[in-house]
C-alpha cells in the first residue's frame, strides 16, 4: 500500500523526547502506563490542547527492568508533558512517582544520555 512521502526537514514538526523514570514498589504494566499517561494529559489539557502537544509514548524505548521510557512531544510543549507526568500518583494498583530525567532532540541521543546505551561510533580495535 502506498503512503505519503516523508516531508522535507524544514516542513516537519519539531519534536522533543522526554526521558522519564518511574519510582514504584511493584512492576509496571505498559498498558496501565499508557492509560495513566493519556488520561492525565487529557484530563489536564483537554482534547484540543493534547492534539497540539502531539503526545506519544514510544513503545520500543520502554525498559521494564529500569522502569525508564521516552515520550515524544512537540518542542513547544515539553513543560505540559512534564506537568502531566508529575500529577500521576497511581498506575494500576501501585503508588508511583514519575520523574523526568531530561529532554533530547533525537531518540538516539536520549537513549545514550538517559538509558546509558552505547553505539559503535567510538569503537577502536
Amino acid at each position: 500500500m502506498s503512503k505519503p512521502e516523508t516531508l522535507p526537514s524544514s516542513l516537519r514538526e519539531k519534536k522533543r523526547y522526554v526521558a522519564f523514570q518511574i519510582l514504584s514498589e511493584g512492576e509496571i504494566d505498559f498498558g496501565d502506563l499508557i492509560n495513566a499517561l493519556w488520561s492525565s494529559i487529557l484530563d489536564l489539557f483537554g482534547e484540543v490542547n493534547t492534539g497540539e502537544i502531539n503526545f506519544w509514548l514510544v513503545k520500543d524505548a520502554w525498559k521494564k527492568e529500569s522502569k525508564r521510557g521516552l515520550i515524544k512531544c512537540n518542542h513547544k510543549h515539553v513543560s505540559e508533558v512534564r506537568l502531566a507526568m508529575a500529577l500521576i500518583n497511581r498506575i494500576g494498583d501501585s503508588q508511583v512517582s514519575i520523574r523526568s530525567l531530561g529532554v533530547s532532540g533525537t531518540m538516539k541521543s536520549a537513549r545514550k544520555k538517559y538509558f546509558g546505551e552505547k553505539d559503535l561510533s567510538n569503537f577502536e580495535k
Partner: protein
C-alpha cells in the same frame, strides 16, 4: 543552580533524603507540623542526628491553626527554633494575618479548600512588604480531579498574577508525604511554566528564592542580622 523543596511533611526522613538527592535537590525542607513543644524537641533531635553533608537539611515548621490568634501564638513559639516557619493557608483571616506577620516565611496554598484564591490585592501587598513568600503546593493538584482541579489551577493562576503585580515572591513545593509524592525540580517548575510564567522566573521559584529565604533566616538565627535589618559583615 541549587534546587530546594521547602515543604516535605513526610516522616520517613532517610528515604525522602535519599530520593531527593537522586532527583537533584541541593536542599530539602523536612517539615514538622507543630503541635506541642515536646514533639518539636523530638523533631529537632532527629534533624541533628541526620548529619548529611551532600544535601542541605532545612528545618521547617508548618503551623496549621484554626484561628489567626492561635497562629500568632504558635509562630512565636517556633520562630527562634527552626529555619523556616510556614503557615498553612485556606482561612482568609489566617492568610491576611500571616501576610502581615514578618516572622512568617511562607504562606502555603492560600487557596486551600476555598472557592476563591484566598488572597486579594491588600493581602498580596502586605506579603510583599513583609517578605512573606507565597507557596504553591503540587500535592493539591495531584489529589484533585476534574472540576476541583480546574478551580485550584484557576486560583493559583490568579494568585500568581497578584504576586507579580505587587512583586511578592512565590515558590513551588511538592508537599510530599512520602517518596512517591516527591517530584524533580524541573517537574515542579513545569507547573508555573504551564501557567504562563517564563522559564527563568519558574526556575527562581524552586532555586533562588527558597535559597535566599533559608540563608537570610540562618543569618538571623545566628545573630548576624540584627533588628532593623542591620547585617554584621
Amino acid at each position: 543552580m541549587e534546587f530546594y523543596d521547602l515543604y516535605v511533611p513526610g516522616e520517613d526522613y532517610d528515604e525522602i533524603i535519599e530520593t531527593a538527592c537522586e532527583m537533584g535537590f541541593h536542599g530539602i525542607g523536612l517539615t514538622h507540623r507543630y503541635e506541642n513543644k515536646d514533639l518539636l524537641n523530638r523533631y529537632l533531635e532527629d534533624m541533628d542526628e541526620i548529619g548529611r553533608e551532600d544535601i542541605d537539611i532545612v528545618r521547617c515548621c508548618e503551623i496549621n491553626a484554626k484561628t489567626a490568634e492561635e497562629m500568632k501564638r504558635a509562630v512565636g513559639k517556633v520562630r527562634q527554633r527552626v529555619d523556616i516557619v510556614e503557615v498553612v493557608g485556606g482561612n482568609f483571616d489566617i492568610n491576611a494575618t500571616a501576610a502581615k506577620d514578618r516572622r512568617v516565611d511562607i504562606l502555603l496554598h492560600p487557596e486551600y479548600k476555598r472557592k476563591d484564591p484566598g488572597m486579594d490585592h491588600k493581602t498580596t501587598k502586605m506579603a510583599a512588604k513583609n517578605e512573606v513568600t507565597v507557596g504553591f503546593v503540587l500535592h493539591d493538584l495531584q489529589h484533585t480531579y476534574g472540576k476541583v482541579r480546574s478551580h485550584v489551577i484557576n486560583h493559583i493562576k490568579k494568585s500568581i498574577g497578584l504576586c507579580k503585580k505587587y512583586e511578592a515572591e512565590f515558590i513551588v513545593t511538592s508537599g510530599a508525604k512520602n517518596i512517591y509524592g516527591l517530584r524533580s525540580p524541573r517537574d515542579l517548575a513545569s507547573l508555573l511554566q504551564v501557567l504562563g510564567i517564563g522559564s527563568s522566573e519558574s526556575m527562581d521559584a524552586i532555586s533562588t528564592i527558597p535559597k535566599k529565604i533559608v540563608r537570610k533566616n540562618r543569618k538571623k538565627l545566628g545573630g548576624k542580622i540584627k533588628r532593623g535589618g542591620v547585617e554584621e559583615v
